[in-house]
């Protein structure tokens, strides 16, 4: 069985990045509740990995939550430039501080700026005036399958990892009782 699916891609050209962090700012503001109520790069789902002395300006988006870091970290040397550990990885991973709500420590996953009405392009792309980020949409035939987990599921999973599933279930039951 196959079905049509929209594939959305944000293409990253790090050589064009000027390090302005407008993408971080825009993403955090768009996802603030209520929308635009705050602008704080620490809450962004896109982060520019900086290493100025090595000329590294590398925007990455958060892709998936993982409770534990990989068995081994990644380090790449490309054209003589050594990138910081895990610079290319979009995982929300305990090995680093990126992509966690600073207060609650809940993971922040890129949702491609899903909203109704739909945006023409994600806000991080829209503010990137130098085309370090560009947006492409295409349709593809893919094997029918399940959608990935949504934000609520990822959040619950992270809470379960931190506090244990039982405690989370207890808490949910208590909240349900209150309402």
């Amino acid at each position: 069985m196959t079905e049509k699916r929209i594939i959305k891609t944000i293409k990253v050209d790090p050589d064009k990045c000027i390090g302005c962090r407008a993408c971080e700012l825009a993403c955090s503001a768009f996802h603030a509740k209520p929308r635009y109520s705050s602008a704080n790069p620490a809450r962004s789902r896109i982060r520019v990995v900086f290493d100025e002395l090595n000329d590294i300006y590398f925007p990455i988006r958060s892709v998936a939550y993982t409770p534990a870091e990989c068995a081994g970290r990644h380090a790449y040397v490309l054209q003589g430039k050594e990138y910081p550990e895990c610079a290319f990885c979009g995982n929300i991973c305990p090995s680093r501080d990126y992509f966690y709500e600073p207060d609650s420590k809940l993971p922040l996953k890129c949702d491609m700026c899903e909203s109704t009405p739909e945006l023409e392009e994600p806000v991080c792309v829209a503010v990137c005036r130098v085309d370090a980020l560009t947006y492409e949409v295409r349709e593809e035939e893919v094997a029918a399958g399940e959608e990935g987990p949504d934000e609520l599921e990822i959040g619950l999973e992270a809470l379960a990892d931190e506090y244990g599933l039982d405690k989370v279930l207890d808490a949910v039951a208590r909240i349900a009782g209150k309402e």
């Binding site: 050589d15 000027i18 100025e52």
Partner: protein, 647 residues
């Protein structure tokens, strides 16, 4: 509820090693807006005229401007203020990149340092956790290297660091505070070194409250786009390979002579290739679509950033080519030295040597080649070795310490500070006023709204004026009537100086980049920010409603407060003298007339002191009382009072 600002500042006593988080007075924000305005208020209240730059009682103040950390594009400036060891007056510098926004998100608008640490320390701010840490292992490290090492030892790659290099540690007056692609100069680096503060590292993850979040966001998105599409914004000249403007117009050596015809196509091609071979990329500042800085990698040196006209200042001072400039910048950026004043000090020393005032005894083994000489002198200065100890105090003081006629060669300082090496033909009255009366020491921090030259064609001039939204009405008339190679009326000169400086005073309070505002109108007349649209940004972000007129008056208040600080430290009319040879053809009578007119217009006495009436009208009655108590003003000095002119 506080908007756009956090409402807190850090008070750090380096002598005692104590740190306090202090809530700030919201009425100050309404009066001074923030940035250098608030810093001036603190300096006025707490640093009396008896306090010298290197006394522990001197304060070193870092302030993120009012709009810094909000979504307003280009509002990313941190202002640094203190008392300068070089001028003995108020020192002002401002730097961009990422430090200010990070400080705001950490929960502070300002850091005030007092005292002196027993040995090198750095301040680490991580939201509510603030501590002084040992920095003795960073002694002598380059500014950029220091930032890297601090991030590594903290394990926080996102920390933003502002640091001094060896020059600051040794209290060299030209020392800077370096941060990412930006730096602060004009005395502040020396004071930081005197306080034995090697660096400040900050990481902040907290939200900042905005008065009308959705509105400010929309305004900011539109502005972001407008800036990126506006060809007259950012550091336009930095991107040009045609350097004719600088190499033909600025003076070479110790601000001595212009070399007409130096520039040609062949040289342009060669220089362009050299620049491309060392440039890693262009970079910008926090939340700005422009890319004004070059990341430069010279083999064998740490990566550094080049900005503004420092691309040529060392080469021109040494009569060298651009490759020399990139080489020496690799050293000076690591040492943390200002690219405007340092080359002048070096060229001054070379001249003294050539004149036989400095000898081989002072400079043993002094090389033949001018470039090698610069490298030689640099090492002496940053270590304060031998004659380097005098040179480290800048041209004015060095000349007097060296003596033997060296004073004759100090021809380009004003208020004891090195001025831009411009030697021009005909007196220019607006510029005369800006140089003479500026409190910020460097003309680039004063000029910028009114065009430097008129468009020759009358029709085009009319077109220009039609598009000129940034200008108050009175300037349109003067500009329309301005024919090439003529003087504007003296009245216009007074207003031009007033407008130019006012816009800087606004930018330096709200933390706006001058390349998007106060410095940018002079070429093209289309600065993205101006007196008429800034109020709506301030209102939506900070919740402070001001008319353009009221905003103008905040700038006026800050201007007068800073003038009062300097007056209390002895500044008077006699000091307001641009270098004698700045223009070949002078007009002393008219110069003094326009200076008098300017003082009157400002509501100052004929000695350049704000009158009681002026200070009271600006809500600075306490300042007036202090000046009277000290005998600087008499009870009768109530007039003139400045006139309210429409913004």
């Amino acid at each position: 509820m506080r908007y756009a600002e956090t409402g807190f500042r850090l008070e750090v006593d380096l002598t005692r090693g104590s740190i306090e988080k202090v809530p700030t007075d919201p009425s100050w924000t309404e009066m001074f807006l923030g940035g250098q305005g608030t810093a001036a208020k603190i300096l006025w209240d707490r640093v009396g005229p008896e306090v010298q730059a290197f006394d522990p009682e001197n304060l070193l103040i870092f302030t993120a401007g009012l709009l810094v950390g909000t979504p307003v594009p280009g509002a990313n400036r941190t202002v640094v203020n203190t008392i300068s060891p070089q001028t003995g007056l108020y020192a002002h510098s401002i730097f961009g990149a990422f430090f200010g926004p990070e400080l705001k998100h950490a929960g502070y608008d300002q850091i005030v340092f007092r005292g002196k640490a027993p040995d090198l320390v750095y301040l680490w701010i991580h939201n509510d956790k603030v501590e002084l840490r040992d920095a003795t292992h960073l002694r002598g490290k380059g500014a950029q290297e220091t930032a890297r090492l601090i991030r590594e030892e903290l394990g926080v790659p996102e920390a933003q660091v502002a640091a001094i290099g060896l020059a600051g540690e040794n209290r060299v007056y030209m020392a800077t505070i370096e941060h990412s692609s930006a730096s602060a100069s004009r005395g502040v680096g020396a004071v930081m070194g005197d306080k034995r503060l090697k660096a400040i590292a900050v990481r902040g993850t907290q939200d900042l409250q905005l008065a009308k979040p959705e509105k400010i966001f929309q305004l900011s998105l539109d502005m972001f786009k407008a800036i990126s599409e506006n060809p007259f914004t950012g550091d336009i000249m930095a991107h040009e390979d045609d350097e004719e403007f600088h190499v033909d117009n600025f003076a070479w050596g110790n601000a001595r002579k212009r070399i007409k015809g130096f520039w040609n196509k062949e040289r342009e091609e060669r220089w362009k290739k050299i620049s491309e071979s060392v440039r890693l990329r262009w970079t910008g500042c926090y939340n700005c679509p422009k890319d004004c800085h070059q990341a430069i990698k010279v083999p064998g040196h740490e990566t550094y950033f080049q900005k503004c006209y420092s691309k040529l200042t060392y080469a021109m001072a040494a009569y060298k080519e651009i490759d020399f400039n990139y080489q020496i910048l690799a050293k000076t950026q690591a040492y943390g030295l200002d690219g405007f004043s340092t080359p002048q000090v070096l060229a001054f020393a070379v001249e003294l040597y050539e004149a036989g005032i400095l000898t081989d005894e002072d400079l043993p083994g002094f090389p033949e080649d001018n470039g090698d000489r610069f490298f030689y002198l640099l090492e002496k200065i940053v270590r304060r070795e031998g004659v380097g100890d005098a040179l480290a105090n800048g041209v004015y003081h060095a000349a007097r310490q060296i003596g033997r006629g060296a004073e004759e060669y100090d021809h380009n300082t004003m208020k004891k500070f090195e001025q831009v090496p411009l030697k021009l033909k005909m007196i220019n009255f607006p510029y005369f006023l800006m140089y003479a009366t500026g409190e910020k020491m460097n003309i680039t921090q004063i000029e910028g709204s009114y065009p430097q030259v008129p468009i020759a064609d009358k029709k085009e001039r009319e077109e220009f004026v039609k598009r000129w939204e940034a200008a108050p009405e009175r300037f349109k008339k003067w500009y329309l009537e301005w024919e090439p190679r003529t003087h504007p009326p003296l009245e216009a000169a007074v207003h031009i100086c007033d407008w130019n400086e006012t816009m800087h005073y606004i930018d330096d309070a709200i933390g706006m980049c001058a390349f998007l505002s106060s410095f940018r109108g002079q070429f093209g007349g289309q600065p993205p920010y101006h007196i008429y649209n800034l109020p709506k940004f301030i209102a939506a972000a900070a919740g402070i409603e001001l008319t353009p007129q009221e905003l103008w008056n905040v700038a006026r208040r800050n201007r007068n407060l800073i003038r009062a600080i300097n007056v209390r430290r002895g500044l008077r009319r006699k000091d307001e003298r641009p270098p004698e040879d700045h223009w070949q053809i002078r007009d002393p009578e008219k110069e003094q007339k326009v200076l008098s007119d300017y003082y009157t217009f400002k509501g100052w006495t004929q000695d350049g002191i704000p009158t009681i009436g002026t200070l009271e009208k600006l809500g600075l009655a306490d300042v007036a009382e202090d000046l009277v108590r000290r005998g600087i003003l008499s009870e009768d000095d109530r007039e003139p009072v400045f006139q309210d002119i429409s913004a």
